[in-house]
Symmetry: C2
Subunit: 375 residues, 2 copies
């Protein structure tokens, strides 16, 4: 496409694909888009291995990495151990979860695990160092303003830094902090998201940046699973699309097979924006787990970040494993981050086919809009 | 524009404008769009007067009327009087509202009014008859499947019938019922709305209709306050845009002046989808009134339709009047239906200027998307 961002990033089609799966990242990059590996769940050693694998498979084509370093979290600045943090999980919450599992026919574990602190930012600098030792062409921070060390590292090594925002005010803050690329993500997005829809957020962010004299490129995110939606975003002034959900039902994806089936069957109304998984509102498949927490009328108030993840992640991994074995209670509880676009994710496809479909659909949409014009 | 819908409705630009203000309806129609008068709050005599005024001002150009006839409401089929219905409002709810007003320095009334049943559907047939006695070119029903008498009247008199939907399943139901035009309205819309965003809903509805062999035209609604967003919708396959919020801050609009000021100052994050006004989820400006009800964590559960309106409307009208006089408590409570697009409604303009701005912005967006294509 003839968009500045294609030249800037050395790509044919400004479709950015966030995925935790290296195969998806490589496939999208090789198909002319831009793959971004979600790196936060990895140890530094694992990340090094994943990025080396990508290097071996993209033959110098551009890709990036995404490291979540939240600006606010429980225990920030207190140098707490995982055990200290775990001690802050109220016993009533542990009992509530145990009761929920029991209602679903899931036995208590002899020594219930408490999850890691992957959303506490403690491994951010190490992961960044590993990422920077590979030929990445973008480093992204999905939660809040990137820390200074990330912005500095990006400048030093000439790697553009991207940040996700869900509101105009946050975009202005990111621009002032010096990021190179803004991903404006609507409330229909999977994972952490704000309340403003993509269709409103994109023009609002672009107007606000322009009024502040900034020409930072903005990618549209949230609900985008087709080329026509990407074309809609470009018509509004976005430089391209940032996508995540659509890769979860690709052949390559790491998504739990039972969850893939749930996603294929889901409509756009089968997701909910709930803090029940991480402590911050994130969009995910509705399930008995999400129903157990606010905003469900009867739901309980979740704990703050990262305590809620520490409580939920080990349980949900156990639930996934049981769901795979056909356990009905576990299947009712199983959930994963996904956006409202899940309603149009109805077929498992190879990632490269998703890219090809995007391009075809984008071109058709541009033609459709062009045909509407008076002669 | 070269779109089938322009020929079908005899318009230049497929921008449909819903407004309770006859001046806006006439101005949009005269500027090449299509004005639709929201008729539900009128008595049959008032509606006749408003439509006659429009007839005198549009010189045969096309316009329409919108009558809300909800499919479900408290007391449906029971032939209840307004007094019977009012008797179903629990005393705790009346006390809760009295307490909320007292907290805001608003004295109780000697005999608190209970509002009309404008959302109970009881005046629908009469309003429809009045509307049909004028040369309307569209009749719309904003809530649920239009009743048979509306569909029949439309067929008999050759007036297309439109229905608003917030989900794919509802669009299929409307198509099966025989409506002529579907307005697919995203969650970012002002007033009653569903949970799916416009950017997701439009392609999902179009795909579902196509898969069912239907070629009913679909207008996009929800958050659309600029021509570039309308162009985005057309790129995705919509036939045009249905708008409401953007007219509330026009020079002609009937909006309470204090509320206009709130809207001009609001960002896209200053709205909430709450059942606190009508009993069904509708998007409106956040205020101390909306904060008093769910989905606010501390909020009370609203009554069903139409009881919540009967409780809230007289209070909110009193609040509006006090807010105009500078009463600070009333200003904190004041609210009105508006979509997330309110963040981009920053200037009072004449309605015809809004249409002109839409056209210019639409053309620029189409050009922008065209420029992105490879040669």
């Amino acid at each position: 496409m003839k968009l500045d961002i294609c030249q800037q990033f050395g790509i044919d089609f400004p479709l950015f694909a966030f995925s935790h799966c290296r195969d998806v990242v490589a496939a999208v990059t090789n198909a002319g888009g831009f793959g971004v590996l979600g790196a936060t769940a990895y140890t530094p050693e694992q990340l090094d291995r994943e990025l080396s694998w990508i290097d071996d498979h993209v033959h110098g084509k551009p890709y990036g990495a995404d490291i979540i370093v939240p600006a606010k979290f429980e225990g920030k600045g207190e140098k707490l151990s995982k055990g200290d943090l775990a001690g802050r999980i109220p016993v009533e919450h542990k009992e509530f979860v145990a009761g929920l599992l029991a209602e679903h026919g899931i036995e208590p574990e002899a020594s219930p695990r408490i999850g890691g602190t992957m959303l506490s930012g403690d491994t951010g600098p190490e992961l960044l160092e590993v990422a920077m030792s590979h030929p990445i062409k973008l480093i992204a921070n999905a939660l809040g303003v990137p820390p200074d060390y990330m912005l500095e590292a990006g400048r030093e090594r000439g790697v553009p830094v991207a940040a996700l925002v869900g509101a105009k005010e946050h975009a202005l803050k990111q621009a002032a902090a010096g990021v190179d690329l803004i991903v404006a993500q609507g409330t229909e997005a999977g994972g952490h998201c704000g309340e403003v829809s993509t269709l409103v957020l994109i023009p609002e962010v672009l107007d606000a940046l322009e009024a502040n004299g900034s020409d930072i490129p903005v990618l549209a995110a949230g609900g985008i699973v087709t080329g026509r939606q990407m074309a809609a975003a470009v018509a509004m002034g976005a430089s391209g699309a940032w996508t995540g959900s659509v890769w979860l039902t690709t052949e390559e994806a790491e998504t739990a097979p039972h969850t893939v089936q749930k996603m294929l069957a889901a409509t756009s109304r089968d997701t909910v924006r709930s803090a029940g998984r991480t402590g911050k509102p994130s969009r995910q498949l509705v399930s008995d787990w999400t129903n157990a927490w606010l905003p469900n009328d009867e739901g309980r108030k979740p704990l703050p970040l990262p305590l809620q993840s520490m409580l939920s992640e080990p349980v949900l991994r156990r639930v996934d494993a049981l769901a795979e074995q056909g356990h009905q209670g576990a299947q009712a509880l199983a959930t994963y981050f996904v956006g409202q676009g899940v309603g149009m994710m109805n077929k498992v496809k190879p990632a490269r086919e998703v890219v090809a479909d995007f391009i075809e659909d984008y071109l058709a949409a541009a033609e459709r809009l062009g045909r509407s014009l008076p002669e």
